[in-house]
């Protein structure tokens, strides 16, 4: 028997699925539904919008903050820099001109600012030169056109109180100020521009030229080419922003799955009707998928507009911070394009799973508006566990190459495997939860079973929460690990109310002076005026709390592989100990070293290198270490080192009262060790630590710097490096807020599917207590499962990374961020449960059946 139908002939060119007209009709309907029900999709829409906007602003800031690759090159492909005076300068420039044709010669003469150690350049440059034009722009007035005219930067104008039209006598030469200029590629570049030939004694000459195809080093050692930050380094700002955007979109997709599932469920009757009218499964899937893609497109467009507006508003601040001009549309368009595409792909992918599920609902069941019963999926946890193990192995490979620049590919693959493992393990965790809750009270039991039954949305929500927690825990654990390393101490250099004034012996050295600089170590008569200047600085800051920092010719060394000792070892003078409230009785008589670095006393293979014959100010350090000097004996493998130059296993006493900054005297050598090792003669004054009543202002710091410079000193103030606890606290807050946010967004979706059960419960006499308990248990259980899964995955990654890592050893993972983990593992689920309890007073509206017109 034939199955051919005597039916209406198919339209010409229309395939079995109705072709383009059918797809167009279906997409049109999806668009109309989106317009009608946009409120129900506001969550995913808002997430996409924020993610895209954040990506645009983040990418713009990240890529525009570093100086442009062409800074100092203009439009030239090459630049030769000559230090002047040089008798061969003219001939070298002539040779370049002969070989490469067009040149742009920029002459600079360093000029002092009276009363300041700061300088500016007197610069001779042709504003219309062939290559240097991007390095000059006119703010007001005009460029100098003849000798006797000068254009200055606004900084120089402010310093010398100049304005256009003034006659400025600089170094005895009168010049008329004709304009205000700037270097768009470096706003911190302060200079006075004159016409070429007017710089009589240049200190530096830069020649810009193009030498395509010629290796710069073959032209000369002083020739360079622009080197974009992104080139050659996989982990550049663009790839980092892209990676963050990808993870963000993945989270959105995971949250979106729940949203689109509920939405599809709400439309089940309409979709059934569509099928009854002859729509194929493909058409039904297309409705949901098109909805997802449309949400993505809408979110991407809105996010793009918002992000662009935010960038345009924020651009002046970035320019000011980055010290160079940034074009309004100088954006990483590739990154933005990929982010926009990712937004659409994420929502499309999120809608795909519900689309497949809803297309499988029998037409009659769909027409009746009955939600499809959850499919009992018994997925093994094995693939997830295998991937988790694989991720750990990849991280181990990446960690093995730590420090030599390779291992990026393993790192990226490890992250991908880790994320996939979390996604695959999430449903299994829900099944495990349901099993564990078998004997719990009815509300909790029901909540756990519902989570396991409706894994389509609760599994994806759990995966999203776990990924948020994973990021937070990983940052916390790695921070604790890195900051917990007592040898290579990391963190802020000083407290915000501390300031160090260094003599040329000290870490910073003075201008033109290093520890072994031309003017030699600072002793005796040279020290007195410096001490006076330091005390003047302290007085100006309203402080009388000033401690002289002295160093001996000694340093610590860890004679083993891994991170080396880093930091200055000052002398524990009675004055220094007193300043930090440490009494003599608190110091063990046999202690050689006092340190606030927790755990340092327990490190084996420590040795104290010293040179009793050294002159004051001459450093001693391990041959390959990061010590203050560089002429010490031995290397990390020689333990114990020669006794006349080294004390193996010095007695280290931990004293928590010492300051913790990396530049502060956190580790000091005792008077006992000084006497025993005969280091008294080599003690030198490195500087003064000033404790101020309040953190100094920028103006006070500038003033202190000028005072210090005038006495040949340098100062060090608090840098911007965060503390370990700051990083961990922020990461913890991020993880908890993200997890709670996802819970807030998804818990309603998850519970909505069981609203029918709730009504049944109410009908059987369950009170609002039960309803609250159900929601609280759902939120708490999801939070707890997410916290545990995320933490386990983070530790798997961290352990893998440290497994065979030369710098970050496995033992350093013992620095557990306990409070952070407690907050995440206990506080967050508890907060979720409490919030769920409080917000679950009202019975959710029925969602399973949406009446059609």
């Amino acid at each position: 028997m034939s199955t051919a139908l005597r039916e209406r002939p198919a339209p010409a060119g229309a395939p079995g699925h109705g072709g383009v007209p059918a797809r167009r009709a279906v997409i049109r309907w999806a668009w109309r539904l989106l317009r009608r029900e946009w409120r129900q999709q506001l969550l995913v829409l808002a997430l996409v919008t924020v993610a895209v906007a954040a990506t645009i602003v983040g990418a713009a800031v990240a890529t525009n903050t570093p100086p442009p690759a062409s800074a100092g090159f203009g439009t030239a492909g090459d630049a030769a820099t000559f230090q002047a005076p040089d008798p061969h300068l003219a001939s070298q420039i002539a040779a370049l001109r002969h070989r490469f044709g067009r040149l742009d010669v920029i002459e600079n003469q360093a000029a002092a600012i009276p009363g300041s150690i700061a300088t500016f350049d007197l610069r001779a440059q042709n504003p219309h030169g062939p290559f240097g034009q991007p390095m000059l722009s006119l703010v007001s007035g005009h460029y100098p056109e003849r000798p006797g005219q000068v254009a200055v930067t606004s900084g120089v104008a402010a310093t010398f109180r100049l304005k256009i039209g003034d006659l400025w006598r600089q170094a005895g030469t009168p010049r008329r100020v004709v304009g205000i200029v700037q270097n768009p590629q470096s706003l911190a570049d302060e200079f006075a521009l004159v016409v070429p030939g007017q710089v009589t004694v240049p200190t530096q000459v830069t020649v810009l030229f193009d030498a395509p195809g010629v290796i710069p080093s073959s032209i000369g050692p002083n020739v360079q080419t622009p080197h974009p930050a992104a080139s050659g380094n996989v982990l550049n700002p663009q790839t980092i922003v892209l990676a963050l955007a990808t993870v963000g979109m993945l989270l959105i997709a995971l949250v979106g799955i729940g949203g689109f599932t509920v939405l599809a469920q709400r439309r089940v009757q309409s979709l059934g009707l569509l099928a009854a009218q002859g729509a194929t499964d493909k058409h039904v899937r297309l409705v949901v998928r098109a909805n997802g893609a449309l949400v993505g497109i809408l979110g991407a467009v809105t996010g793009f507009v918002l992000g662009l507006a935010a960038w345009l508003a924020y651009r002046p601040t970035v320019e000011s911070d980055a010290h160079h001009l940034i074009g309004a549309f100088q954006l990483p368009w590739t990154v933005i394009g990929v982010a926009l595409a990712l937004a659409v792909v994420a929502t499309y992918a999120a809608a795909s799973r519900p689309a497949r599920s809803i297309a499988r609902v029998p037409i009659v069941a769909a027409l009746s508006g009955r939600p499809a019963p959850p499919k009992q999926v018994r997925r093994s946890a094995l693939p997830g566990l295998v991937l988790l193990g694989g991720a750990a192995v990849l991280f181990a490979y990446s960690g093995m190459s730590n420090g030599n620049g390779s291992g990026s590919l393993e790192l990226v693959l490890g992250l991908v495997a880790l994320i996939a493992a979390v996604i695959l393990l999430a449903p299994a965790c829900l099944a495990l939860l349901a099993r564990l809750g078998g004997r719990a009270p009815i509300a909790v039991r029901l909540a756990l079973r519902d989570l396991a039954r409706y894994r389509a949305r609760s599994g994806s929500a759990l995966a999203a929460i776990s990924l948020g927690v994973l990021i937070a825990v990983l940052v916390s654990v790695l921070s604790a690990q890195r900051f917990g390393n007592v040898l290579d101490y990391a963190g802020p250099n000083l407290a915000s109310d501390q300031l160090i004034v260094y003599t040329p012996n000290g870490q910073g050295g003075g201008p033109g002076n290093g520890p072994n600089g031309p003017s030699g170590p600072v002793t005796g008569s040279k020290l007195a005026p410096m001490a006076k200047a330091a005390h003047d600085i302290a007085s100006a800051l309203g402080s009388h709390d000033i401690v002289q920092l002295e160093s001996a010719s000694a340093s610590l060394q860890h004679a083993a592989s891994g991170r080396t000792w880093n930091g200055q070892v000052y002398v524990a003078t009675p004055q220094l100990l007193r300043a930090f409230g440490i009494t003599a009785s608190q110091v063990s008589p046999g202690a050689d070293i006092l340190s606030m670095r927790p755990g340092l006393s327990g490190i084996t293979k420590m040795q104290l290198l010293f040179d009793p014959k050294a002159s004051p100010g001459v450093g001693v350090g391990p041959g390959t270490g990061n010590g203050p000097g560089g002429n010490g004996p031995g290397g990390p493998d020689s333990f114990p080192c020669p006794k006349n130059q080294c004390l193996a296993n010095p007695v280290i006493q931990e004293v928590s009262a010492l300051p913790s900054g990396t530049s502060a005297p956190n580790t000091v050598i005792t008077e006992h060790a000084i006497s025993t090792l005969g280091l008294r003669a080599g003690i030198s004054a490195d500087g003064w630590l000033i404790q101020t009543p309040n953190p100094p202002t920028a103006g006070q710091i500038t003033s202190a710097r000028l005072t210090a410079a005038s006495a040949g000193l340098t100062i060090e103030t608090r840098n911007s490096i965060p503390t370990s606890s700051e990083i961990i606290n922020w990461a913890t807050v991020f993880g908890i807020v993200l997890a709670l946010g996802i819970l807030a967004m998804t818990i309603g979706l998850i519970r909505s599917e069981t609203s029918g059960d709730l009504r049944t419960l109410a009908a059987t006499g369950a009170s609002s207590w039960t309803r609250r308990a159900l929601t609280a248990a759902t939120a708490g259980a999801l939070g707890l499962a997410g916290a545990v899964l995320g933490t386990v995955a983070a530790y798997a990654a961290a352990i893998g990374y440290a497994w065979n890592n030369k710098l970050e050893s496995l033992s350093e993972l013992s620095s557990v961020p306990t409070s952070s983990l407690l907050l995440i593992l206990i506080g967050m689920p508890l907060a979720a449960a409490v919030a769920g309890w409080l917000l679950a007073g009202r019975e959710p509206a029925a969602l399973g059946h949406q009446p059609m017109e």
Partner: protein, 240 residues
């Protein structure tokens, strides 16, 4: 010419102790231009019969043929195409798609079948015109009365020269005036050559049909020609 033929069709849901026989060995034939009303108490299998006849569900046993083609040999896509081109449905609760205008709702089966939007819209307007709904073409379903919505649903069911119209309680949500109007429209469609199966529990409305099938517990317990219905009053020669 036979449009719908159901041979020994049975349908069971569930398994074991929970097994429910919704239809038992039902035979039904409807020819072109014929109108069959299906009556019976709740749970007798009326709607199941309709959904199986319209390929929305598969029979457990037996065979369903539409225009001579057995549904059991058709793929899901073939059945979808069959519904687009040959079978029109009318539901009790209208089931118009929200978000689409009246004209777009009616044009939907054609567009799904690959007919261009303009041509489909023209055909829809023609169908709406026939049901005196042309002025409602650009409105949304929510802007129509119940009777109008059901007329639109009928327009959608007949558009594109379909051959079989299946109506499940098409007047269930309407008042008596609108219910009569709906039945009249279905009757007129049959006059143009369509075969129709109408599920109803209203004997008055069933009298529009050529034949009434009674179902009980899934069995066809009786088949009879209905008493002269209201339409007979309109037919010259049958009024005496």
């Amino acid at each position: 010419m036979t449009v719908l033929e159901m041979r020994d069709v049975s349908k069971a849901y569930g398994q074991g102790a929970g097994r429910v026989e919704a239809l038992r060995q039902v035979d039904l034939t409807v020819g072109a231009g014929g109108m069959v009303a299906v009556m019976g108490p709740s749970g007798s299998g009326k709607s199941t019969l309709l959904t199986i006849a319209g390929s929305l569900e598969e029979a457990s046993t037996g065979e369903v043929l539409i225009d001579g083609a057995p549904l059991s040999r058709m793929s899901r896509n073939d059945k979808a195409r069959l519904r687009r081109r040959m079978v029109g449905y009318v539901f009790q609760d209208f089931n118009l798609l929200p978000g689409l205008t009246v004209a777009e709702n009616v044009a939907l089966p054609l567009e799904l079948d690959g007919v261009g939007a303009r041509a489909a819209r023209a055909a829809a307007r023609e169908a709406l015109d026939g049901l005196r709904l042309a002025d409602r073409a650009s409105r949304y379903p929510s802007q129509l009365s119940g009777g109008e919505r059901q007329r639109v649903a009928i327009a959608r069911a007949v558009v594109g020269d379909r051959r079989l119209l299946l109506a499940d309680e098409p007047s269930g949500a309407l008042d008596s005036v609108n219910a009569e109007a709906v039945m009249r429209l279905i009757h007129e469609a049959c006059k143009r050559g369509m075969a129709a199966v109408v599920v109803t529990h209203d004997a008055q409305l069933a009298s529009w049909a050529d034949r009434v099938v009674f179902l009980r517990d899934g069995h066809v317990v009786d088949q009879t020609a209905p008493l002269p219905g209201p339409e007979s009053l309109l037919t010259p020669g049958q009024t005496s």
